[in-house]
Structures are given as C-alpha cells and as structure tokens.
Symmetry: C2
Subunit: 192 residues, 2 copies
DNA sequence: TGGAGAATGTGATGTACATCACCTAAGCCC
DNA sequence: GGGCTTAGGTGATGTACATCACATTCTCCA
C-alpha cells in the first residue's frame, strides 16, 4: 500500500491528471503515522488539515454534555476525514478524530487544497465529486435514521462494511447507530 | 425578483465570472412555474434536472411503505434541490419534489451542469462550494438527530427558518422532524 | 503474570414516542 | 352555501429505547 500510488489511483478514478500534475498535487501532502488511540483532532483545536486514510481505521465523533459520544464516520483506507465545518469556516473543532487502530494518513491543508483547486481545474473537479459523494452518503444515512429502526440500521451497517464487525468494539458501533451499548447488545443477543 | 439577477447574485458570492461567462452559463437554465401542490419529481421518474428556487417553497421528501413521509429539505428561494442520488447515478427517483406554494424555479440539466463545469473552471468552483454547503448542513442535521430530542429540533428549525411557521402546515414540519403529527401537536400545546 | 481498566451482558424500571380512535374547525369547489 | 377534504387537537394504550445497577470476561502493560 504505497501512499502515493493509493492516492493516485483514488483520484484518477474521477479526474484526468498528467503524471506531472499529480506529482505537483502530491507534493502538498504529508504522510503521518498514528498509534491506536491517538488523537488527530480534538474538540477546541484549530483545524487546518484534512486527512486521507492510507491504512488503519479512524473515527470522527462528537461528544455531547461531556458524556455521550456520537460517531459521524468510520474512516477506512481511501476515505477522507476532518472536521469539515471547522476547516471551512475557520472555527474551532467541535468534532474530534482519533485512531481506532494504528493508522497512516496523508494530510492536506485547507489552504493548499484551495491553491491546488484554483491552479488545476481537474483537481477542483475531483474535490467537487468527492464532496458530492459525502453529501449523498450523509443524506442516505439521515433517511435511514428517520425511516429504519436500530436493528435494520445495524444490519445495513454490517452489510455495507463487514470488516467493522471485527475491527471495531461494539460500543463504538452503538455510538455510530445512535443507541446505547446496552440496547445494541440486547438486539443481537435476542435469539429468536 | 428577477430570476437571472437572483441566480447571478447567488453565484457571484462564491465564484468570479465575467458577465459574458455568466450569460453563457445562464443560457442553459430554463425558467418554469408551478402551482401549489404540483409535483416536480415523482418517485420512479427519470431524473435529469436540478432546480434553483426563485420564489415559493418546495419540499423534497421520501415515502416509506407507501405510508409515511419524511421530508429531507424545504427548498426556499436561492436553494437548490433535486433527487441528487438519482441525478448523479442515473437511477430512478426515490425522492420526490413538489410545491408547498406556487413557485418559480430555474432548471438545469445534469449534462449541462457537467458541460458548464468542464468549460468554466469558476463554475466548477461554485458547484464544489455549493455541494460542500449541502454536505455540512446534512451532517449538522444528522448530529442534531442523534443528539437532540424532538422539542429541541423543533425549536432549532424555527429559529433557523421562522418563515416556516406560517408557510408550512404543521404535519409537514412533523415529517421534517421525523415524528408523528400527534407528537408535535402535543409538544407545543403542553402549556407548562 | 497479575491486576486494573475496558468491553460486554443482563435485569429492573422509567419515558418519549407511535399508533389508533375520535373530535372539531377551517379551506375549497361545484 | 352545503358538503367534502384537509389540518389539527386530544385521550388511551403499547413499545422501543434509555438509564442505572451490577456481574462477567477480555486485554494489555508495568
């Protein structure tokens, strides 16, 4: 899993870039490694990077009342994550990101992204497409929230990302589904 | 509320276009008028346009089991709407759009948008920004769903769009909040 | 390797909401 | 303007889930 080749394959699915253009674009990314449990963005931080996952698994989450955690996204290889609200609006982080397992990520600063987008039309095209995917996924999840009960959402999640079942502790799956860990436990232990 | 000037002001907030470029871009939009109650997109339709609201109010909604309706978005002037999933993936509509009041909209086809985006870098920039806004709004709403109870979400909605209170029947507000009309009724009639 | 913290299971109880049933009042249309 | 449709209110009842409390098992690192 070469970081550069991983990103290249990912971008070229959507945009048409010459090798030279891609090399230029790639020069703005920095590779970073994190250990399991390590924080990448913490609530209150200044946020100026977004992250492209090369290996491992991150979570982007929100903590309410200093008590309850809600997971917005599990970020797996070739996924992007950050606190995009804070990133675009230049506000402090309300969403945190940390590592569920050891992870390697490519970092890109907000300023550099905007610079690349203004210099390379196809890069702007790529980022439009990427945001669009995120928007559709978010809308789909919102509908699923309104429309399905917890059990259906749990099965939907595991059908879509079977790896999660072994990779992620159950209380984090509950935090993604928006239910208590007790409820989730009872759900899949009800034998019938 | 001149349609052309409305769109122009909207786009120029984000992108830098010459008058000539804007005129060219605008030539791809078609103005359409609809009556209260009229459908713009119905479930099962082929979807190839998106809509920019000039006047009036639309709703984008999903109907489950032929019974329950969930509202994804109220679309007011200068908002964009469509079934974007169907539009981008060239599938049949699962989300419908219709008119809560008489409305005027500017229509843009998916093909024309992509053409404009590839021809005018700043147009691509605009549409990236626009999608980004939608993504952030959708994520915020998702968090609100997980984190807040119905009453808090109701107050949040009215604080953000006070016009809705008079413009939109209560059972549609309930369908946006994802609760039954009875529950919503009891909520704000509880005197305490 | 043993002990502490993390992850998970399970019972008892409370509550926010859905659902069904029925009622009233306000548009709207020939 | 009389009847019909749509919007909205309210009671009774059921249910999915939260919460609290406690027990058990796993994991990992000093």
């Amino acid at each position: 899993m070469d970081p550069k080749e991983t990103l290249k394959a990912h971008i070229l699915k959507t945009a048409t870039l010459t090798d030279k253009e891609f090399d230029y674009l790639f020069s703005y990314f920095k590779l970073q490694s994190f250990k399991k449990g390590q924080a990448i963005i913490s609530e209150g931080d200044r946020v100026d990077h977004e992250y492209f996952v090369i290996s491992g698994c991150l979570k982007a989450f929100f903590i309410n009342d200093e008590i309850k955690m809600y997971i917005l996204q599990f970020a797996m290889p070739t996924w992007w994550t950050s606190d995009y609200g804070a990133l675009y609006n230049h506000t402090r982080a309300t969403i945190s990101v940390d590592c569920i397992s050891d992870a390697e990520v490519l970092c890109l600063s907000n300023d550099d992204r905007e610079k690349i987008c203004s210099e390379i039309h196809q890069a702007e095209h790529f980022f439009r497409w990427r945001t669009n995917r995120g928007y559709l996924a978010s809308q789909k999840r919102l509908l699923s929230f309104m429309n399905n009960d917890t059990k259906a959402r749990y099965e939907e999640l595991l059908a879509m990302y079977p790896q999660l079942y072994n990779l992620v502790p159950k209380h984090l799956i509950a935090a993604y589904l928006g239910v208590s860990r007790e409820t989730l436990s009872r759900l899949y232990n009800a034998q019938k």
